[in-house]
Symmetry: C2
């Protein structure tokens, strides 16, 4: 027994003998957020980035399965034994709904790729891991990412011991001059810049989007400096105005410069855990043979998860088929819902912190997506979060969690996806009280 | 354009700039086997280790879902919103059927562990990756494994750049004296032996099992030399006689020496991709705090796949619940079926290659599981496999594929799990012709 009352045995372990990722601040911060929201269950959460769930219905699952099975029989000529085998057995490592995802990409994104270049993954997180594992050959390989950035990318990079080199953001999403500077800095440090990761549409956490000119310039920079672009696109359907969608980088890519990372978590449902990667680059082998990068990623997947669960793919496939493979069509209600919430959140902030007021509160105005970033005249750290949860019953995310190092101390992320319009109004009232409390001469929060 | 007719672009890649796992012989061998079986679809496969599929029924899936939802409502008091959220949303990283798996372990294996020490994974393959990723801190960390051994372990080790140090097998499964020698050899090489991986019951590929004395001695060796045992147990239900099951290493483990790796692929169905790991070791942190090893593995999982798909867990959970969490009970028909096939295979070999005959063919006699190893008087390599597939219409697996280096050249693995009794008889007739063909003075197979 030691002081903790834990009786240790010789077979027990210690973190200093385990992989360094386990002591990573990114992991600690996610655990902290979960722990705080668990401790204050009555607080309204503008922290959670999960999708709205009351459009889901348990009865849908059996229908999706049936639709997918009918599709196998009708469109693929599968007999009942083949249908059964497809759902129950191990299957194709690259997945069984790659053709449906290719149809989605044509219909919703104007991306036309060979379905063979698609690997269906256990969420987009596995897709990020596969790509980074493939690209990280030795300690000189580096991935660049905008900072603040998505913690999932940082986490996957940690697991393959690959440094994430930060690139500054600006109000348009990415400071492209800084990107060039950082590519050169990576090379000057004797390292290899293998890829630049970003979410071009309504980024998590910043909400920012690249305009068309920036997209073209980014592709040109990647070509000039010979690195891949890892385009992560979980949110682009959720733009705030009809007809305003910009082409994805992959749609603009004529030279296989972009590896496209897709997620159905927001557009189908998270519990299916379906993501995918489009990797249509050619890979030259040692003996002059060529493979698709997707096939190389598939080899890694075979040693990681073997298959994305065919039953989960079948369910997601059924939802795709029900809407002729258009996720825009499948998300008609959702798009309107998130759009309304974004407007309510931005209008509600303007109402409570009017222009010209003495509040020192400002925010960005994303044109879609799930997130808005607010700048405040106090340190928006874990202590402030905990204080606001306990005293005012509102949760949000410190932006500092999205920096791999210092940054974002006076900013916080508000998420609008998992709350009702009424909850947004109530949460903003509570935030206004918290901001007033913390903006004055700081008293003890404890 | 180059000689292959592939037009290369600047963004394309080459394997010498990608992670070394992509050029691993283990991956190449699996691809070769798939390719051969694809080319000879009419051949009878004694190569495939997948479970028999005609006990499955697509209609079961909706019933399993309903049973699991009813369980959430009845046993956990979940309201409809909570049921919906559990299936559709992101969820607990360690999984949502950990308690059901804990009940299975008590009922079927006599293993009594805190459900909190269980992490539900995307197949057992992800469980192996999580454990090796955690244990591999730097280039000195080594995992030992019996050779010939399971290629999935080798693959996961490759992804974390962890050497797999071979330990000799013998007719009882593992040469425990060689295990001690190899642990000492690892240390003498300045490396750290972190764990020893094995399948104690009906191993893949050897079919061998450790007797009770060997199990006890193995636990003592691990304690004396301070390394973990990674016990992988996909097959132990499928013993050839009732009442003959031996305790798992984890059931014998009183000192948290064993990390137990479970798979439902053979006992539920592969397409759910449900595996799990029992990791009840304590882990001491830098500041004197303690966690469960399962919670450390969960942190890695959060950066790899986030969750095991809740819908897939719900389906597997429904099957578990339908049999009061006993997989022995759920597999009554399957146990009888595999038992009969094993007897048919062993009897059929005896009939065709009688004792004392001039055939130089011998084989082991596993007491359960899916695999039998045959020793032949010729080189049982890929060329022989391809020759037999084309000329005689029978598929098997060269044992050399299961060695990380030379070994097994005169041996092949027969799998009995995915064939009918009639197919076993036909396949053995074809094998007998192939063996006679190749055992004589070798003529050209091409």
């Amino acid at each position: 027994m030691n002081d903790s009352g834990v009786e240790l045995l010789a077979a027990d372990l210690s973190t200093d003998r385990l992989h360094a990722a386990l002591q990573d601040p990114a992991l600690a911060s996610m655990n902290f957020l979960n722990e705080v929201s668990g401790r204050f269950p009555e607080a309204i959460s503008l922290a959670a980035g999960r999708p709205r769930e009351d459009f889901y219905d348990v009865e849908d699952l059996s229908r999706y399965l049936r639709i997918f099975c009918d599709h196998l029989a009708a469109e693929k000529g599968a007999d009942p034994e083949t249908v059964r085998r497809t759902l129950f057995q191990y299957g194709r490592t690259k997945g069984i709904i790659h053709d449906l995802l290719a149809r989605h990409l044509v219909r919703d994104e104007g991306i036309d790729v060979d379905p063979e270049s698609i690997v269906v993954t256990v969420g987009c997180q596995e897709a990020m891991f596969l790509v980074l594992r493939a690209l990280r050959r030795d300690e000189d390989d580096v991935v660049l990412s905008v900072s603040p950035g998505y913690v999932g990318l940082t986490g996957a990079a940690r697991l393959v011991d690959m440094p994430v080199w930060p690139v500054r953001d600006d109000e348009r999403g990415i400071d492209l001059d800084d990107l060039v500077d950082q590519i050169e800095a990576v090379r000057a440090a004797g390292k290899r810049p293998r890829a630049f990761y970003l979410v071009p549409d309504f980024a998590n956490p910043s909400g920012a989007s690249l305009d068309l000119e920036a997209r073209r310039r980014l592709l040109a920079i990647a070509a000039e400096h010979d690195l891949l672009i890892l385009e992560d696109n979980p949110y682009s359907l959720f733009q705030s105005e009809d007809g305003k969608r910009l082409p994805t980088l992959k749609a603009l890519d004529t030279s296989r410069r972009v590896v496209y990372l897709g997620s159905l978590s927001k557009t189908c449902f998270p519990g299916a855990r379906i993501g995918f990667v489009v990797a249509n680059q050619h890979v030259a082998g040692a003996e002059g043979e060529f493979t698709l990068f997707a096939d190389e990623l598939s080899k890694i997947k075979s040693m990681l998860t073997v298959n994305t669960p065919p039953v989960a793919q079948a369910i997601a496939g059924g939802k795709l088929l029900e809407h002729d493979c258009s996720l825009v069509e499948a998300n008609t209600r959702e798009i309107q819902f998130y759009r309304r919430n974004l407007r309510l959140l931005l209008d509600g902030l303007s109402l409570r912190f009017p222009p010209g007021g003495n509040h020192q509160i400002s925010w960005n105005a994303p044109s879609g997506g799930f997130f808005v970033v607010v700048t405040v005249p106090f340190i928006a750290d874990n202590a402030a979060l905990e204080y606001g949860a306990g005293k005012y019953g509102v949760l949000w995310t410190p932006m500092s969690h999205f920096y791999d190092g210092p940054g974002g101390e006076d900013k916080l992320r508000l998420s609008l996806s998992a709350v009702s319009p009424d909850q947004i109004e109530a949460a903003l009232d509570r935030l206004a009280l918290l901001f007033a409390d913390l903006s004055g001469p700081r008293t003890s929060m404890h």
